[in-house]
Amino acid sequence: MANEFDPDLPSNRLIFDIRRDNDVWPHFKERLEELMEAYGLSPAEREAFRAVDVRRLGELGVHPYFLPQVTRLFHGAAGNTTKSAAAEAYRRSFGDQIVEHRDISSEEKPHG
């Protein structure tokens, strides 16, 4: 089922909290090891964070909605286009599983 996740997983608590804490999220990359220790992440979670492997984080029980936010924590949120550094990191993580949008612009005319 979509959106299934483990609400008790330390990674979920970390991501939930950090976006709300303006003293922490700007320094996420620099403080990653300290934060992972403080929240008690498992070795598998830590390895996935270090590798920015959001696909693996999803497999471990991170809520899917958090996954692109993790790439933004590492690569920045501004200009979050489909070609941004955060988006490319997301693609790398999911590899050949990624489904790109099929260009059907000739069939898709805005209507009012």
């Binding site: 089922m1 959106n3 809520h63 909605y65 996954l67 692109p68 990624i98 059907i104 805005p110 009012g112």
Partner: protein
């Protein structure tokens, strides 16, 4: 009794303010024109307060055992929350609340059996910040965050019942003369998390917009299931539950589809429905 003066539902994809200039020009123009029309409609209705219903995005509601709804009783807000400012390319805004109205809604909805919390100081992300960019910041708002993406989410039947309850509260309980706008916000199809992050289901979106045009609550409950929405894009498409609240609040009249753009760069179907007859 109070009255609805405007009811609408719209997408709130972050790129609409964050990176719209990366879209093809035709998409940019259609999206901007669509949102600007919504702003014109809401401003022309001259509401005293805008009630909003939108997905919480796992930013405020607890990860474990979240309520279906949380109505915010703050006197005012600033937004977006800092983490989201660069993403949305927004410098920040301030908007007033109507705590006395919010308290009434929380009390009445809870008494009617809805799983609703009250609080104050919700953090806003794209859920409010994108619609308000076009609707403006002058009218007080009454935000109701809903749980759209943390299973179990409220079913379409729950959302329609909640919309009907809002309709009852506005028409039978809120102070006479109060002019109320209602905005449901979320969707259309998108999957923010998972392998389909970069795609959407425009066929589903067009079908859903037509469903709003028809506004047959029984059919919505029967066909626009949580499972079907997740098939069109997990983690995002169920934000359309907020549209069902707006539809029910309108009382059964049909909506007009204002615009629709299947935007690859937004990674989301972008569109809106407006109800102009409130039965």
């Amino acid at each position: 009794m109070a009255e609805f003066v405007s009811i609408m539902a719209m997408a709130h994809a972050p790129g609409v303010t964050g990176w719209l200039d990366s879209c093809p020009v035709s998409d940019q123009q259609a999206i901007q024109a669509g949102y600007e029309e919504l702003g014109q409609i809401m401003r022309a209705a001259k509401p005293d307060v805008i009630i909003g219903v939108g997905n919480d995005h796992l930013l405020n509601l607890p990860l474990k055992n979240p309520p279906n709804w949380r109505v915010d009783c703050a006197l005012d807000w600033t937004g977006p929350a800092e983490f989201f400012k660069a993403w949305l390319k927004q410098p920040g805004y301030q908007v007033r609340g109507r705590p006395e109205i919010a308290e009434i809604i929380a009390r009445e909805a809870r008494a009617a059996g809805h799983k609703i919390d009250r609080g104050d100081g919700l953090l806003f992300d794209d859920n409010w910040s994108v619609p308000l960019w076009y609707l403006g910041y002058d009218v007080p708002i009454l935000p109701i965050h809903m749980n759209c993406i943390n299973p179990p989410v409220p079913e379409p039947a729950d959302c329609i019942r909640f919309g009907r309850e809002l309709r009852r509260i506005v028409r039978d309980v809120l102070p006479a003369g109060l002019r109320v706008g209602l905005m449901g916000t979320g969707g259309l199809s998108h999957e923010p998390g998972g392998p389909r992050y970069f795609t959407m289901d425009s066929k589903f979106d067009r079908w859903f917009l037509e469903l709003m045009e028809e506004s047959d609550a029984d059919r919505v409950i029967r066909e626009a299931t949580v499972e079907r929405m997740n098939d069109a894009g997990g983690g995002g498409t169920t934000e359309l539950l907020a549209w069902m609240v707006a539809m029910a609040a309108a009382g059964g009249t049909g909506a007009r589809s204002v615009f629709y753009v299947a935007s690859a760069e937004m990674r989301c179907g972008i569109g809106a429905s407006v109800w102009s007859d409130f039965a």
